[in-house]
Symmetry: D2
Subunit: 283 residues, 4 copies
């Protein structure tokens, strides 16, 4: 059964929840999940609501138009999606392939509810792996000189494939502000440290030198500042003096995979709402 | 500012959320939190909704009466409470005092939003500690012979103090079904293992003999079966062969305190809804 | 540089550590790691010691013979291995392929220091995946009637390939005591619950029905009792009422992979010493 | 039974372990624990060894003198202690008393193997609490003007009480390099974030503003740089958008207590060896 999902953020006001739920009820929808949060400090109302379209009076195509009146009334940022529309996902990767591999395995066995039409890399290492999953692979070599042109080429590829979500699965190139602005709050990165600690290059080496006793991974939306976008999910694992740098990297990889995995599932279920420099995760 | 909180469970049906939120909206309430969950397997609708009473049209005392019409319509189990009514809490304890101590410390420093009029124990060990916090202490010695009478005495004490919530903070007596039925879903226990493993006596010894590599703690509502009531919260910590039984106990104590602490805060904020043999925790 | 590793367990006595370390020192070995543990309750001495063979006076082949005199003196169970002898590993799997996949990925990228000559399954599902990694795949269909014969066939395959370690990466057949006795303390299983809770079939369904708030995974040596062998590693992850059974399974998979991964690395580094119904993990 | 414990660090060389264990063996000691680690990057040998003095040929007072010959030979930094010498501990605290409270509770119930003769604070808040435990309390008010003098007074108090270990249990004054140099690697601090993230003031506010999804606590030795000393232990806990800043603080407190608790136990058991900017924790 097809479900509709609304993600809403707007200035807080009386009656928002009542108005939204009435809209659904009066059109004969059955609410499956509703979760609401208010950010006091910013006076912001945030909501995720999901309802069944079985017997709903409005056609799928008419819902947005009808809802836009309510949205206007409350100055909402909103996004409407449907569970039978599979999100279209592109994965970017460099030379570390474990996250890519983990995602593609789940995709192959039907555990990721999405369509992955392409993988893009600045290296050729992933070609064979990606080919094995019958996904189109694009090696886009990036240098300081050709970066602008190559990003334009990538944008073209992504637009052509109507990509909804870009997953940087250990992609070690910094995307330009121009690129990012083409896909606002649609690019997810996995960083191999518990941010804000150890941003930037070689976080495991940094962590090893520092002698920390936990390492971790962080998923976040990409914005214009390196490793500074709104955090979605984080996890950590204990390490000790008995762990070599190699052990840090190996143990960290398992955390990276798990955190990215969780994040991609959340994104595909439209459970992440990003506003300001924070996220609300309706899990 | 005083808030009203409704906890609702009922058979799922169309329009529940809309009806409830409309009730609040039309009386000029501002919804602060709303979270809803549907248990598919049991076709059960579960909800927590909290709204500000600033400018609300109904008197505090009239809200329940008015709401009961909606409740009847949807066959709801429901509970209405107000943030300015401090829950009244009794703590039961035996000889291990760390959980009691941790709760009383928070209580003393104003970090627990409740009133604790009494502590009951089947031993005298906690007397001095409790006295130090100016709380009334009752040593109720229980034997197989006097159990019935002593429980009646306890019930009397609890009723007299209008106790809303009973916290078994390492109380090592089994409460009779008669006692439990006087306080349905109002008795919380902390058990020093990750249930359902190591129920019953001496869970750390059991865990140590078994050679497990994690230990844990579980909070749950008390029902008629030992350590079988609906689970509220659980956590675990890594152990190794280097840990002695004494280390298991010490590390476990920190987990017990943290899990019970989290649970009591959830209960005081009316964020736990228990139905069947499960809980919904609106955290 | 090649290292020798000794794993020792024996009745505790004075002078064991001094005698062992002297043996290494007098033969010009440089100790890299030494870790010792005494199980008080069983009066058992347990040790792992690793030394560099650069400049060691004894030939690799002579070390064991020479050491056996010390071993005899202290009635040791001992195992000598060398880091330049790659352990030979067989993986058993049924229909859930995520653990297999994760191990083969690491193997392919040189992150598992071992040789994997074969994968055995009671189903055919893994054939293509295994073939992609150029590893020999054996579909050994097992029924109550043919079990004895099929296990003999498997033992033959394993002996022929000189297998040191068998990894049950979600293999859902119970191995007979005869099979297990052929590979004592050389068979590792991953079970998808935090044992001893939810042993046996469908642990995630059991956990979901029970309403637990953590799920987990356990690796253990296989002995004659189902899910009862000495535990090697365990980990858990938080779940909530918002998680469906499908979510339990998905989140659990990430824990299973991480726990098995950690366990296989420990086994390959000869860091696990199993005695009685417990393990010492020299991590 | 009294045990001797040696903590050793020195440049790596052949024969250290053999020499140390022989020293113990030839004097009829029975080694209870021995754990050794080599830091490859710094070519440093690190060891903790503990043996029973039952039947040991050397008097307690003669062991150090005898051992110093070996220490000289290998240029060791070393520390000899005995389990029947209770470490003398001072606790420093400011206005947040939860860590102090947790430690004193354990102390009172005999769970901390140490002697705590005094608590020092720059505020008067802890006076009553400390008095309840019959421990001497010193309110040492510190201002920029009187800091030097007040620290001299504190040093005097600490020297007079022969303090072995100083625990900063949420003490919010920066100790001067002069003070620190009086107690090298004998001052432990608990910081309420997972360092190196959120060093300095108000880490929970920083974390809340940043929108992180885990918070944590870190124990470390104090050196001349704020929150930069060698890390001993760390742990984290998940948070979500549903947690207010108040919830961050409350959940964090439980992590702080558990991490500091673990650290103090490790220190009392002489299981921490600090060298360079790192620690080895023989747990």
């Amino acid at each position: 059964m097809n479900h509709a999902i609304l993600l809403i953020s707007c200035p807080d006001a009386k009656g928002i929840t009542a108005t939204v739920t009435n809209f659904i009820y009066q059109n004969q929808g059955n609410i499956i999940h509703a979760d609401q949060h208010i950010d006091d400090q910013n006076n912001t109302f945030l909501m995720r609501i999901e309802w069944s379209l079985g017997g709903f009076r409005l056609e799928k195509g008419a819902i947005g138009k009808e809802f836009s009146k309510i949205a206007e009334q409350f100055q909402m940022n909103w996004e409407l999606s449907f569970t039978d529309d599979l999100p279209r996902v592109a994965i970017f990767v460099s030379k570390q392939l474990h996250c890519l591999h983990d995602l593609l395995f789940q995709y192959f066995y039907g555990q990721l509810r999405c369509k992955i039409p392409l993988v893009i890399s600045n290296h050729d290492d992933a070609r064979l792996l990606v080919a094995g999953f019958k996904i189109s692979f694009h090696h886009v070599h990036v240098t300081p000189e050709n970066k602008k042109a190559q990003e334009r080429r990538e944008i073209e590829l992504l637009k052509k494939e109507k990509i909804d979500l870009i997953v940087l699965a250990r992609y070690h190139q910094i995307l330009s502000p121009e690129f990012v602005s083409e896909f606002p709050r649609r690019i997810i990165n996995i960083h191999h440290s518990f941010l804000p600690a150890f941003a930037g290059k070689n976080p495991y080496q940094q962590a090893y030198q520092k002698g920390v006793k936990v390492i971790g991974a962080t998923s976040h939306y990409v914005n214009d500042q390196l490793d500074e976008g709104p955090i979605i999910a984080q996890d950590t694992v204990q390490v000790s003096h008995r762990d070599t740098l190699e052990d840090f990297i190996r143990k960290g990889m398992d955390v990276e995979k798990a955190v990215l995995n969780r994040t991609v599932h959340l994104a595909l279920q439209r459970k992440i709402l990003s506003y300001g420099n924070k996220t609300v995760v309706f899990d």
